[in-house]
């Protein structure tokens, strides 16, 4: 029999039902795997086996839960009561949240077993997991490469079978890009679909929590557990949560798929382009109607994002001042000195860079030229999608312009790093759901991802198309030889 750690949640549920596996065997299998592979990958920053075993014991009453006995790994910006939650930043050293994020409560209510926290770029600022205060996570397909970011730890752990399911957060592509680079499934739900209560905020008009999984079926299962209105998050939307597993139907006949002509542009790797074009042909062969569409403002999305993201981040990160939690500069004399000392010692380079950029864009004299201008162009980007969705049901693009790059390759050049989010950022700006699924491999055996973007709150169409593609291809079955 295959090792339990290598299976999906829906496979394990079947095994548990048949009585051929139980939750404690699954948990041991996963922890054995972590012990064996994580010293090489460094995807997990905090694993708590004792707590997981306790949860397993108290969990026996929840046998009917949708995720009963299934191990889940959480990105380290999601609060778990009394467990270290650091955003991979020195400034949150020692912080243990006094409450659970809503997604954590929902996972536990369905019997899921939380196994620990995964590495990330500091405060989710990055596309490579290299800005973490714990050091970089490595890509399971090539240990010399980055796993993508910022949810790089979650994606690498899923790819290396160190967990069955994982959650990430996506502000400009932080779930989809690492999923693409690690050859797994990553989904950013519609803005408002999943509560952010207890997610440490980066950019409040963009952030969304979502699943990182081994296949599309698990993404549907996990989304169904975490989605839904929450009075603790005023931006969560009070719409019924469909049974997403019912969208797992092999049928794209007549589905109108738009391919934006702007996505085949300069900077797109030839092998990525070839894989994505082939994927579009597969969908066409399965009966989808492929149409050429245009999103004319795509080329401005990164500019808009690198004003709005840092502006909101500079405001959200003002709370880290050494007063209520985390690090405090004990040598400082006086209040202002304490703020300055704490923040200067606690934040890493990328965090400082984004705080400076955001503060500048919001400061007197520059607000109109940068922040307000970006908000107006954001409207134009949103309108591009509205127009496009008048003639198609789903948009398909590459997830990332290149496969995983080498560790250290882009750390000296922040702008080059920012450009790796070109395909994912527009969905955040417009609040749309997006998913990345495996669609190929480069010549050097690095995974390539296909992105699908749907209308607001139409995760169902997206999941159906993703599932149909997956079930007609084998890319998701290939695992890294780690």
């Amino acid at each position: 029999m295959e090792k339990l750690y290598s299976l999906t949640a829906h496979d394990l549920k079947e095994l548990i039902k048949k009585g051929s596996a139980d939750a404690s065997e699954i948990l041991s299998s996963v922890f054995d795997r972590i012990e064996k592979t994580d010293p090489k990958i460094k995807a997990i920053v905090h694993a708590n086996k004792t707590k997981a075993l306790e949860a397993l014991r108290s969990n026996s009453a929840k046998k009917e839960g949708k995720l009963s006995g299934i191990p889940v790994l959480l990105k380290d910006n999601i609060c778990v009561k009394d467990e270290p939650t650091t955003c991979a930043s020195k400034i949150l050293e020692g912080f243990r949240p006094p409450y659970n994020a809503t997604v954590v409560d929902r996972l536990e209510a369905e019997g899921a077993i939380l196994i620990g926290k995964s590495n990330m770029d500091e405060f989710a600022f990055g596309s490579s997991c290299e800005t973490s205060c714990y050091g970089p996570t490595r890509n399971p397909w090539d240990l010399g490469c980055i796993p993508g970011g910022s949810s790089g730890g979650s994606a690498a752990a899923v790819a290396a079978d160190e967990t069955i399911l994982a959650l990430g957060s996506d502000t400009g592509g932080s779930i989809r890009q690492p999923a693409s680079l690690c050859g797994v499934v990553g989904m950013k739900p519609t803005y408002g679909r999943v509560s952010r209560y207890g997610l440490i905020a980066f950019a409040s008009s963009l952030d969304q929590i979502g699943p990182i999984t081994k296949d599309v079926s698990d993404a549907a299962l996990l989304l169904g557990v975490i989605a839904g209105y929450d009075e603790m998050d005023s931006t969560s939307v009070d719409l019924p949560v469909p049974d997403y597993t019912r969208s797992l139907v092999k049928d794209v006949k007549g589905l109108r798929i738009g391919v934006p002509r702007e996505c085949f542009m300069e900077g797109l790797d030839k092998e990525v382009e070839a894989s994505v074009r082939k994927a579009v042909d597969v969908l066409k062969g399965l009966g989808a109607r492929v149409t050429d569409i245009s999103l004319p403002h795509t080329g401005y999305a990164i500019s808009v994002y690198y004003i709005i993201g840092p502006a909101e981040a500079s405001s959200n990160l003002a709370r880290f001042d050494g007063v209520q939690y985390g690090l405090r500069d004990k040598d400082a004399r006086g209040m202002i000195d304490m703020y300055v000392g704490t923040r200067s010692k606690g934040f890493g380079n990328e965090a400082k860079r984004r705080i400076l950029l955001g503060t500048y864009c919001l400061s007197t004299g520059y607000y109109d030229a940068y922040y307000l201008k970006a908000q107006k162009v954001r409207t134009k980007i949103k309108e591009d999608f509205d127009k496009a969705f008048a003639s198609c049901d789903l948009i398909v693009t590459p997830t990332s312009p290149t496969p995983a790059f080498r560790i250290g390759e882009k750390t000296e050049n922040p702008l080059a790093m920012y450009l790796s989010d070109i395909y994912t950022i527009p969905a955040n700006l417009a609040g749309l759901p997006g998913i990345s699924i495996p669609c190929g491999f480069s010549g050097s055996c690095l995974p390539i991802g296909l992105q699908m973007i749907a209308k607001p709150f139409d995760e169902e169409t997206m999941l159906r198309a993703a599932y149909t593609f997956e079930q007609n291809t084998d890319f998701h079955k290939k695992r890294p030889g780690i």
Binding site: S205, V237, G326, S344, A374, Q375, K376, K380
Partner: protein, 99 residues
């Protein structure tokens, strides 16, 4: 759009309560110049009369709730993570100059 100089970066750092050494000031100034140069391509687009988007939910207006008493975090739980505390309060360095 004018690009940022070192004096402005220093001022912005002060606003953000960050102190930068000379090396950092040099580095961030150069990087911010290239980032802002890239960003300024937004000026190519006319946004005359365009309504700004502050978040993606067009239907979302103010969210209110009734003002009713509910249990909340206990004071000692809220203070658990404090770097310094005294008598049930967060303790900070002296704010007002004097004795």
């Amino acid at each position: 759009m004018e690009l940022i100089d070192k004096a402005t970066v220093k001022h912005v750092a002060h606003l953000a309560r960050l102190s930068l050494n000379d090396k950092e000031l040099e580095l961030y100034s150069a990087q911010l110049v290239s980032i802002l140069a890239y960003i300024s391509k937004l000026n190519e687009i006319s946004t005359e009369g365009v309504t700004p988007t502050s978040h993606p939910l067009s239907s979302l207006k103010n969210v209110f709730r009734s003002d009713t008493l509910k249990p909340s975090l206990e004071a000692d739980e809220a203070l658990n993570n404090a770097p310094a505390q005294q008598d049930g309060f967060f303790k900070v360095p002296q704010i007002i100059e004097g004795k």
